[in-house]
Symmetry: C2
């Protein structure tokens, strides 16, 4: 093709790079190939294997070849609804469940069909913002602070809404808890208060609860309990079932929002058509649950809890501002106490900090700017997942579930994470000298 011809790209996608979490994985892969030892705290992939019962179900479904209904296999939609009825005490109905190739894709379709402003608290998951940009939707970021545990307050939400002289403007609030990137979650009371504001202004809530079942104490509460009529409940297999690479996400709509569900199904029928049939058949068993899956979940939670606390302690002691995680497998680190010392080392942004850390130590974390924070802010997300999940699960099974794991469990079974967090602390000490030590 003649080079006189200009590249014809939509302005909405020009300059759009690969998703930062996926890009860091590629970069770590390259470093490993160069022979460097890498501690990959970048991509948030569950370290645990898919439960055996679910893998076996996939084998049994391997010859399923039919195009399934757009909204999903009826048995799966029934299982998903029942899952949320049991786990979240919501009145989910199979007719209002839609299954997609990852909840990421479902969120993209939702933003395509929904015509309104999108409210996103930050720090937030890496993909919410680029999606809206690709589609050309209007976004309002709602910043949160370390002091507020990176959570929005009812007052903050109210302020954002009332800032514009258009109270009934169609709005979609994206709420993700336990949170990627902070590992923190809302209490029932906090959710009830947010629900009240949302109801008053008829804000649709997209409640991204993909880490719900990885609440470290198994005490996840959904906002759907307080705002059933306006909440879309998002979940999927990627995190609690360890099946990120399988690509299966789910949305559950309330009756009042069935028009959104139907419009999404219409767009889905022109895009991904339906989720891979063998994967859907296997997912039925995952959502139906059972003793093996419950056991798997409790062991996973206990390991993540112990490891998260250990990392928090070391990093806090090093002077980093960080809250102990309550669910999932992330920590959101705030290096602001070291702003001046780091500036003297030429580090004035989260990006510079992460690049320097990776170069100096082979430890990969992602800067806060990837999660919707300002470029100047010295924050970063750490995904403490670089350990062998199957081995750790097997070791955890030797300790009765009503006991705590022994204190040296993380050192023995998650040694790479332990080494990595230590490297961050030591690196920081080197960078900032006696000020920290």
């Amino acid at each position: 093709m003649n080079t006189n011809k200009p590249v014809s790209l939509s302005l909405n996608v020009r300059g759009l790079g690969q998703s930062a979490t996926l890009a860091i994985k590629d970069r770590c892969r390259a470093l490993v190939q160069e022979g460097q030892t890498v501690c990959d705290f970048g991509l948030g992939q569950s370290p645990f294997p898919v439960p055996t019962v679910v893998v076996e179900a996939l084998k049994l479904a391997a010859s399923e070849k039919e195009y399934l209904p757009v909204k999903g296999l009826p048995a799966l939609r029934e299982a998903v609804a029942e899952f949320h009825r049991l786990k979240d005490h919501t009145d989910a109905h199979p007719d209002r469940v839609i299954v997609g190739p990852g909840s990421k894709e479902l969120m993209f379709l939702l933003q395509i069909v929904y015509y309104g402003e999108i409210l996103i608290p930050t720090p937030c998951w890496v993909s919410y913002i680029p999606k809206a940009r690709i589609i050309g939707r209007r976004i309002s970021l709602v910043p949160t602070s370390y002091e507020d545990h990176w959570k929005i307050t009812p007052e903050g939400l109210l302020k954002t809404i009332e800032m514009v002289n258009d109270h009934l403007r169609p709005r979609l609030l994206v709420l993700n808890y336990p949170s990627n990137p902070s590992g923190l979650t809302y209490t029932a009371d906090e959710l009830a208060e947010i629900a009240e504001v949302a109801r008053r202004f008829q804000v649709v809530v997209l409640s991204d609860e993909i880490y719900g079942q990885l609440h470290h104490r198994g005490e996840h509460v959904s906002i759907a309990r307080f705002y059933p009529e306006g909440t879309i409940l998002s979940s999927g297999l990627s995190k609690w079932c360890g099946a990120g690479g399988w690509r299966l996400g789910t949305f559950v709509f309330p009756p009042d929002l069935d028009w959104l569900c139907d419009a999404m199904a219409a767009v889905a029928s022109e895009t991904y058509t339906s989720v891979s049939a063998p994967i859907q058949h296997a997912a039925v068993h995952a959502f139906r649950g059972g003793v093996e899956i419950e056991r798997y979940l409790w062991h996973a939670r206990r390991i993540l809890h112990a490891l998260g606390r250990r990392c928090t302690r070391t990093l806090s002691e090093a002077g980093i501002r960080v809250h102990a995680p309550e669910g999932g497998f992330y920590l959101f680190l705030d290096f602001s106490p070291f702003r001046e010392a780091l500036a003297r080392q030429g580090i004035g942004s989260g990006i510079a900090l992460c690049n320097r850390l990776l170069n100096d130590t082979g430890t990969a974390i992602l800067p806060g700017s990837v999660f919707g924070r300002s470029r100047e802010e010295l924050t970063a997300r750490l995904a403490y997942v670089d350990f062998e999940g199957a081995r750790a699960l097997a070791a955890s099974e030797n300790v009765p579930l009503d006991q705590d794991l022994p204190p040296d469990f993380p050192d023995r079974w998650c040694e790479k994470v332990i080494a990595g967090k230590q490297q961050i602390a030591s690196w920081l000490s080197t960078m900032t000298g006696d000020e920290v030590a």
Copy 2:
């Protein structure tokens, strides 16, 4: 949610129904549940099972759980490139292969990233037009005729381009052959001539060759041989591998269009992320091919060829204008010789014709308007796939591949299709009376 609040849907998706091919499947399912005998010539799903080697490969890959690279598993991209080098004599390179959850999704992403006019010959596959509408892209339909075997001519393409005083306008021509909905394909000479016009005006060609391996004589030719620098070659597992429900499609880009490939990967990383890992691992074996898959393909082609010819003969004899198919499993029927007689029965559109036929006989075909033709036109697509593919393959294996199938093969092994086409002929005769008999 208060009903005072208006439904907030993007204008691009308001009124968008489910894809017509998927909707007809749902309607047939409902009729069957009501106890009616239905002959489903609606959805174009391969009747054949996924080859056993590929199913076995999926079982072996059932525990693969990692997020794979956005563009696809390296081994799969290598296999896809090699597949096209071998089968299509193109110089496909793994770095310029992208794997998506169906080529439908890839086409959607292409339309999102490409900023230009989209040229679509009609009749065309059902999803090209709604996609562009969802995204808000400009489309120009290029009508074809029965006389031209529903194919565009170089002159027709030239005329469409020159109609606008903007010769170097960025343009994407979507070319699908063997064709859904006509079952017809282009000769090498025809493709060479179209390539010449495309080159002259630097039109990007999206060459949808998903039915390529189902060319009934195994003689599929790609336009990429004549226009390598401007052709995106689209394929996937859905048709030749019988794995429509698995959802795996592929695009291969030429070096000059790598900017499109990269932009699509960036959007993919914010939407579907990557295709299901177990499915990709299994697909490696499908694209690598081998004796079992070659044998499977030749039997499938022979059955589709024999059955397509039989249907064409009966329907031609009934007075319907239809060309014998050359690939895939579709016939595009033109009832225009009966316009007046059908009008007397209150049938003045393709939709009315199909609805009446389904109600009167339980035979489902799809009106031409679904494929981009005018509503008044009395055309319809017939997908001759309502038979048990595994049983037919097993029967075909008893006849050496260098022989023709016995004349009664379709009657014995594809009896529902034979009955269905007969029903159409009889119904038409009833509708139009002695005029036809």
